[in-house]
Point group: D2
Chain length 118, copies 4
């Protein structure tokens, strides 16, 4: 775990792409990343175009680094990743619940609006 | 629907950020986007750091454009979006199933590996 | 040019990645994209990790679509792109100058601060 | 500098967005980030929709973290960043030249093609 008290809590999402593999399928590589994330101890959840991930900034970055290393190990000579990463100081993020809470707040608003229309 | 036969089928994901609102919460704006997407008729699914979206390239872009327009309408003077968008010519994507199938293929591999370890 | 009066002006940047090519180099594909952009008539400028691009939303999206089509044509079975795209209603963007002006404003601030320190 | 021999060399680009500031202009915040990057000792270069940045993975991530911290310090309650980050094992990247070389290779191809057309 992070030993840096000044490390911001990061709510993130990333989409990793193996390059130069000669194979248009990436599922084996992404499965390997899920295994790396499992070992990281961080909260994560795969979706159709990436994986939600959150934790101390440093650990989130290290986990994605380790995904790159694992995908290189599997034979990809080059790896490119798009990361979306957010931090906030206006409120305390409930650990492991940053991404979930964002979805819930939107769903609550949609449910309220739907109720108003009835 | 698209009238352009040459339009590639796009499997995408986007994360929209309202800027200059003076409010650190974005849930009201994202809820509005979900309503816009609902009207687009495209397949979409919100997650913790964006929304999966797929369909003909042109319609996907138009839907995201309309989200920007709606968020401006709600009062955001500036809007910035990150889009991940993919196309492929090696296989026919089952319409509306592009993002789901990607998740399923990874889950199948993980299940197979777990079974092998038992 | 765009025939849609309601089309927002988009200041964008994109990074296209050919997948499944068996070649870790992407320069040939990116060069092809620059040629596509040249034909689009839009303002664009390549940098180390993508290409700045701006114009009416619809045309920006069409230009990136055409880059995908050209890269498929060159032999890439799959193409994934990350797009950053922004719109604003608080001020009129000088056409073709959206990205440049952003850089200039930052450089002005840095020059002012440096002058203050002397 | 990095003390981790296993740290991959990262060629990256990032676009940071301050949220909830009530100001649609971001130039002051981006100028602050340039100052943070200057202190990092890493190679970086601003463009119209982000900043190229490269170095050991860990240092690149720390520099972007420190930009978030600085932007929070300036008053932004929330910060969201899009990072593109790439690593490769097929060739040694010339330190500080990863992003430049990518541009040069594309420019060489374009110059060659133009020469062939004459």
């Amino acid at each position: 775990m992070s030993d840096d008290k000044d490390d911001l809590y990061a709510v993130a999402d990333f989409c990793l792409i193996p390059m130069g593999t000669g194979d248009s399928s990436v599922a084996e590589y992404i499965a390997e990343c899920q295994t790396v994330l499992q070992k990281s101890g961080l909260t994560f959840k795969m979706h159709g175009y990436g994986t939600n991930l959150e934790g101390p900034w440093n650990e989130v970055c290290k986990a994605i680094h380790d995904c790159h290393a694992a995908v290189h190990q599997l034979g990809a000579p080059r790896v490119a990743t798009d990361i979306r990463i957010g931090t906030r100081t206006d409120r305390q993020v409930v650990l492991g619940e940053g991404n979930n809470r964002k979805v819930h707040r939107v769903e609550e608003i949609l449910a309220r609006k739907e109720a108003e229309l009835r």
